[in-house]
Symmetry: C2
Subunit: 143 residues, 2 copies
DNA sequence: ATTATTAATGCAATTTACTTTCAATAAAAA
DNA sequence: TTTTTATTGAAAGTAAATTGCATTAATAAT
């Protein structure tokens, strides 16, 4: 699904242009890489996949930029380590994460409506919710 | 509710004894402190509240022990920093957390059943779920 | 009770994940 | 084409958590 991921990259670049943010080679490459990823990636993994084309700090900084623009979403592992995946409009989901191998499955359940309604009734604004299920995947629980 | 927190401490000490774990002064003190806390605490905060009675590494190590014994539960802030709170049987809940001041409210909603059923149908075992709502509390959104 | 065993502690050093600083470079605006 | 300003890379710095190791204390054995 090449065209699909190209579209995601293009849309993200448009988002950048709409702010005062610049379209650079690292950003193009990072977006392409994220668009083609089969699972959420850490900054280290992203850098590894780019074969050292640019510095790790460039990955960190751009993930932060992308997050601010809602181009990527973050997932927190139990260790507190962050993973990143492209935001796809109309494809809100969460994850089931294997504690051992970090295999990640989409969790096609979400209670965002209820959760945010509850929080806003308590005076909270600018809400975001996180739902994560941690466990051992089939392979990792075989021992 | 002094008696209540005493009971929690006693129950936790029993859990320790049931393994080969020892009942030490730091552990008593840490459990008491957690039982009396009005909100989830970080290791640094726990140490601060104990007025330097013992080393920070002792706090970290014991929180890990307590977590393994399900004596405490952890909460992950967006930064990846960990907070700890005593597990109270029959009082499963999640949190709404202010991004700015870290004020924490109990979130009296949980979809653990659905979430874990979904994950176990995908072959995952030893499940745990996390639900967190982040936002700005009334005070912090006033500017 | 006393001694032996083994777990827990404190301190220092280390690691991991991430952030900041700053000079050099490149993108976009003039 | 020049100027402006955002972005980058390299190195140093930071915060949270972890590890190694000698000392101390809790429990088990005698």
């Amino acid at each position: 699904m090449k065209a699909q991921s190209d579209n995601l990259v293009e849309a993200a670049l448009e988002t950048l242009k709409a702010s005062t943010l610049r379209v650079t080679e690292p950003r193009r490459a990072l977006l392409r890489l994220l668009a083609e990823a089969e699972k959420p990636l850490s900054c280290e993994e992203i850098r590894a996949r780019s074969e050292g084309e640019f510095d790790l700090v460039t990955v960190y900084r751009n993930m932060e930029v992308f997050r601010e623009q809602n181009i990527v979403q973050t997932i927190l592992l139990e260790s507190g380590k962050q993973l990143f995946e492209l935001t796809v409009e109309g494809d809100h989901h969460h994850h089931i994460i294997c504690r051992s191998c970090h295999r990640t499955l989409r969790l096609e359940l979400c209670f965002g409506g209820e959760l945010e309604r509850y929080a806003s009734s308590r005076g909270f604004k600018q809400l975001e919710h996180k739902i994560e299920v941690f466990g051992l995947c089939e392979t990792c629980s075989e021992d």
